[in-house]
Symmetry: C2
Subunit: 161 residues, 2 copies
């Protein structure tokens, strides 16, 4: 069980799950590191070169993502060089795809820009474009305007499952 | 067309649509203001009392969300008092539901906490719980591990469009 860093502790212990997610994805760099990992970056140099991020910031952000279980470190060694760490997404990190796709399509639709560099989410088999959608228990997509947020008791009633 | 504030201009002009979304949702308060609006808050006092946010920060964040087209201001007047502004989500603001639901379920699953205050997204008709999912063009949900991010040319080929 990773221990939250002091800076993140407040956010991580928040009763709102949105804030707890933001306690892990603390800034734009965190989102971009996950994006680059999803695009195939694994090494410190690959993240640094792709994003132009300062080395000390990159070190801190990668450590935080490892600490919160979004990435795991794997030692690797190029012959003749010292052992280094590669960073791979955990299953929890992979599940951030839904968050990133939702943010990407919102920005694409509501803060449009042409031409833009495109990172497109595709099914691995069939290479079909996917979107983030709200889906009901029967698997049907539901338009945002047909969804409302409701505050419930902190402990759901037994009938709720 | 709202003009981005100088602070946000860099983020808004970024070729990455994820960063452009983060240029609108600049911090935790922005996410929480949208959450409270989805729960029914409309007035300055309602947002302030629900979140315990400092008045100057609230003023700035509401102005930014209005500027970026997430909320609109509507004057209202309680008899005997001065005219005030109410803040309502635009259709673009409503579409942030998918982002918030995706972040909420990620935090709920991967940064669990018991007991927690719950804000639950339900269908307006039928009150069924909805989830954020990745969906293919045929409307089928796709597991995150079956989706890959792919960099494309900035201008899609005609066959794509």
């Amino acid at each position: 069980m990773p221990r939250p860093s002091p800076i993140l502790a407040h956010a991580i212990e928040n009763p709102c799950a949105i804030i707890r997610s933001l306690g892990v994805l603390t800034d734009t760099w965190s989102f971009l590191l996950v994006r680059e990992a999803l695009l195939g970056a694994r090494t410190f140099a690959q993240f640094r070169d792709a994003l132009g991020i300062a080395s000390d910031v990159l070190t801190a952000r990668l450590a935080s993502l490892v600490e919160h279980g979004v990435m795991v470190k794997t030692p690797y060694r190029v012959p003749g060089q010292r052992t280094r760490d590669a960073y791979d997404l955990t299953p929890a990190g992979e599940e951030l795809k839904t968050v990133l796709v939702a943010m990407q399509q919102w920005g694409h639709t509501h803060v449009p820009q042409e031409p833009e560099l495109r990172v497109v989410p595709l099914t691995t088999e069939g290479r079909q474009r996917v979107h983030a959608e709200l889906v009901d228990p029967a698997g049907r997509t539901v338009a945002p305007e047909a969804v409302q947020f409701v505050r419930t008791a902190s402990r759901p009633a037994p009938v709720d499952g």
